[in-house]
């Protein structure tokens, strides 16, 4: 088709979607990927409806559900976990601006969270006898965070990628060192050193909104008002960031992520945009810090350490860096999982559910799935029968975490009274077998999967459940590895290509 045949260059009438391109035509080929994504049938129709729903509908439903959560759960623990999750979501949203949109690897992010927390504590405690009202503190802290982000962002003018990561990590370490030794800062006690700012003397005030103090605890348990406060912060931050992302600034951030040189040459002031991204991320982190300080009635340097940075990064990467919905899902999955895995009984549900789901995801409803499940169950009963025939002490060891599931499992998985060196041997063997699994294909894999699964259950019951603190991070790591293999762009992330 030559240009001469075409209508005048203005808004064309061909905008209306053509009914359906013929098979093999240019357009048919171009839309191939799109068609593959959509399912047919009733489920497909539902999925299409869900996809068509605008983001604010999702947000409204989500915020309403979260706000109704305290109605169903009166336990202070559940409410506190919900609060923590929303706080993590807020942190992840901020990090998403820098990492997901700006493409800047900022490993100093938690320093801004800490900065916000310390600023709040200094502005509303006995430390310097400053007691600003919360409505004044919040904007001050946000501005302080934004300015700090702007300054820490300056090295990004000259550095990118891993170099920038190392420099920002260095600033994070400086923050920790300064805060931990800040009780003799030029002769003044500023940050309270390793004790932090907290306790009765410091008297860090809780939030005071609309003339009401929000006490940290109501008759000993978590005050649910904080859940609503953090939810409101989250909703507002989500919408504001969304608006920025849909503006020319957001497009420029994404251009910068894709190709900084091309962005600069297309008229975008790249250096200024980098600082702006750092500022936005830091401001959100600082805001999150204020809530944290208020709820804990204090700040302590150990909170703002490396593991927290890794956790927030995990949320962003697992959920899908660059997608707001993605990082929220990431925050929920990671935090809820970590909480569930604290308790051995709950951890057991999670473990077996994940295994069954993963098997179903890989094999769907097929003969292989039946073989794997049937084989594993049969193998278990055989092994259990043999072991108990040899000696009763092989199967009547103590169970970790009592619930109905272990009552059933006791007839299947062996739990010896004394494991001896087998604790280490089986654990290492499990890792070896899993590695071996990645090397074989087809029915060999199915055959190997049966003993692997049984060994996994054995190690889980006898080794991993005895050390839940380590186990929960191992499980999280395993999930992260599997998700990154199956979906490199995260659970809800857009597919991205690097070089084509």
């Amino acid at each position: 088709m030559t240009d001469a045949e075409l209508p005048t260059p203005n808004v064309p009438d061909s905008l209306t979607e053509p009914a359906g391109p013929a098979v093999g035509q240019d357009e048919w080929v171009a839309r191939h990927a799109e068609r593959r994504l959509l399912r047919g049938g009733r489920l497909g129709a539902v999925e299409e409806r869900l996809r068509a729903a605008p983001w604010w509908a999702w947000l409204t439903v989500f915020v309403c559900l979260a706000a109704l959560l305290p109605v169903g759960f009166s336990s202070g623990y559940v409410r506190r976990v919900a609060f923590d999750t929303v706080l993590y979501m807020l942190l992840a949203l901020g990090l998403n601006v820098v990492v997901g949109w700006g493409g800047l690897l900022d490993l100093g992010y938690i320093a801004f969270y800490g900065l916000g927390a310390y600023c709040y504590a200094l502005l509303s405690s006995n430390q310097f006898d400053v007691h600003l009202p919360t409505v004044a503190t919040l904007p001050i802290v946000v501005v302080v965070g934004a300015v700090a982000g702007w300054l820490i962002g300056l090295p990004s003018w000259r550095l990118s990628g891993d170099y920038l990561a190392i420099v920002t990590l260095f600033f994070f370490q400086i923050f920790i060192v300064v805060v931990t030794n800040g009780d003799h800062l030029f002769g003044h006690n500023v940050t309270g050193g390793s004790n932090g700012i907290g306790g009765v003397d410091a008297n860090v005030r809780p939030f005071n909104l609309f003339g009401h103090d929000l006490p940290v605890a109501h008759s000993g348990s978590f005050n649910v008002a904080y859940l609503y406060v953090v939810l409101a912060f989250f909703a507002v931050v989500f919408v504001l960031l969304r608006f920025v992302n849909e503006s020319r600034i957001g497009r420029a951030w994404r251009s910068l992520r894709e190709d900084p040189l091309a962005a600069e040459l297309m008229g975008m002031p790249v250096n200024w945009l980098k600082l702006l991204a750092f500022s936005f991320g830091a401001a959100v982190a600082a805001l999150s810090g204020t809530i944290f300080a208020a709820l804990n009635a204090g700040v302590f340097p150990t909170t703002f350490a490396f593991p927290l940075l890794i956790t927030v990064y995990t949320m962003v990467i697992l959920g899908g860096s660059g997608s707001q919905a993605g990082v929220i899902v990431g925050a929920i999955v990671v935090n809820v999982l970590l909480e569930l895995l604290r308790d051995a009984g709950n951890a057991r549900y999670v473990f077996y559910a994940l295994i069954v789901l993963a098997l179903f995801g890989v094999y769907r409803l097929s003969v292989r799935l039946a073989v794997v499940l049937g084989g594993t169950i049969a193998l278990g009963f055989v092994v259990h029968g043999i072991a108990s025939a040899i000696a009763k002490s092989n199967v009547d060891g103590p169970a970790n975490g009592e619930n109905w599931l272990i009552d059933g499992l006791r007839h299947w998985v062996i739990v010896p009274r004394d494991l001896g060196p087998w604790k280490q041997i089986t654990y290492v063997a499990l890792i070896g077998v899993i590695l071996l699994l990645t090397l074989v294909r087809g029915w060999w894999r199915v055959a190997l999967l049966v003993p692997t699964l049984y060994l996994a259950a054995f190690v889980w019951e006898n080794v991993m459940l005895t050390a839940p603190e380590a186990t929960r991070f191992i499980i999280l790591g395993a999930i992260l590895v599997s998700v990154m293999i199956a979906r490199p762009s995260g659970i809800l992330g857009e597919r991205r290509v690097e070089i084509v």
């Binding site: 203005n10 064309p12 608006f243 894709e258 091309a262 008229g267 975008m268 991205r496 290509v497």
Partner: protein, 263 residues
């Protein structure tokens, strides 16, 4: 004679001891299409990088629309009205086609982060204008970049369409001078012909002044008002296509011997 839109005055560029461009004088008049030719390593792309501010010349001065742009930041030069495409395509691959073009409207639009957060009426009006501008720029390419393609990621485009999208993106910066770095590279004969027509149309209908690097001599012959030949960073010939193509120094630069010119 028309007004000089761009003028390079004795521009030199050296990387250490390597002189890539040497005392180059070059000018482009308003409304002209000038082609730059030369063998590989002649300094053509470096010339583009000098004009757009990626490199700062070690000597000499570059004047655009009566103003020295030497040492300016690239985004400021773009804002003044120089836009370019890249020899090795540099699209924002994971953004949609229309977003690629909309992003390039950054320099001549104003709404900042605060107005975006508040979604002021002015900001929303400007967004509408950016969208219209992008649609108009894409419509310039006929059916090639229309309709359903707008919301596809740029990586899903074919090679030729990526080249077209790069030109569309460059025009969205509202330039006066358009620098095209090998627009016909990697295209088949039909597409090459189309690109030649398109470059003429860009000048006649779009009103852009065009400086183009091209290796395909059919394209150069078809579009150029004037041809400049470079070799080792030095201008070795300048004039009409017929003059430059038969110039002994040019033939020598390409072939290395004093063979008879076949074209």
């Amino acid at each position: 004679m028309a007004e000089k839109l761009l003028e390079l005055k004795r521009v030199s560029m050296a990387f250490g001891g390597l002189h890539v461009v040497n005392e180059l004088d070059l000018h482009v008049d308003e409304g002209e299409i000038v082609s730059v030719i030369g063998p590989n390593g002649a300094g053509k792309t470096t010339l583009f990088n000098l004009i757009t501010g990626v490199y700062e010349p070690t000597e000499g001065d570059i004047v655009f629309a009566g103003r020295s742009i030497k040492g300016m930041d690239p985004h400021k030069i773009t804002k003044l009205g120089i836009a370019r495409t890249f020899q090795t395509l540099r699209l924002f691959l994971n953004m949609t086609v229309i977003e690629n073009v909309m992003a390039a409207a950054f320099a001549h639009t104003r709404a900042g982060a605060f107005r975006a957060m508040l979604r002021t009426p002015g900001m929303r009006r400007e967004e509408g204008e950016i969208r219209n501008l992008a649609e108009e720029r894409l419509a310039f390419f006929g059916q090639r970049l229309m309709g359903y393609r707008w919301n596809q990621p740029a990586y899903s485009l074919s090679y030729a369409n990526r080249r077209r999208l790069e030109i569309a993106r460059a025009t969205a910066t509202n330039p006066r001078l358009l620098l095209l770095d090998e627009p016909a590279a990697g295209m088949n004969p039909t597409e090459t012909h189309e690109i030649s027509e398109l470059i003429g149309k860009l000048r006649d209908e779009g009103g852009y002044t065009i400086l183009v690097i091209e290796h395909d001599m059919h394209v150069v012959e078809g579009i150029s008002d004037r041809v400049v030949a470079l070799d080792h960073g030095v201008k070795i010939s300048e004039g009409s296509f017929e003059y430059v193509a038969t110039d002994e120094r040019v033939v020598e630069a390409y072939l290395g011997t004093k063979a008879t010119a076949t074209k």
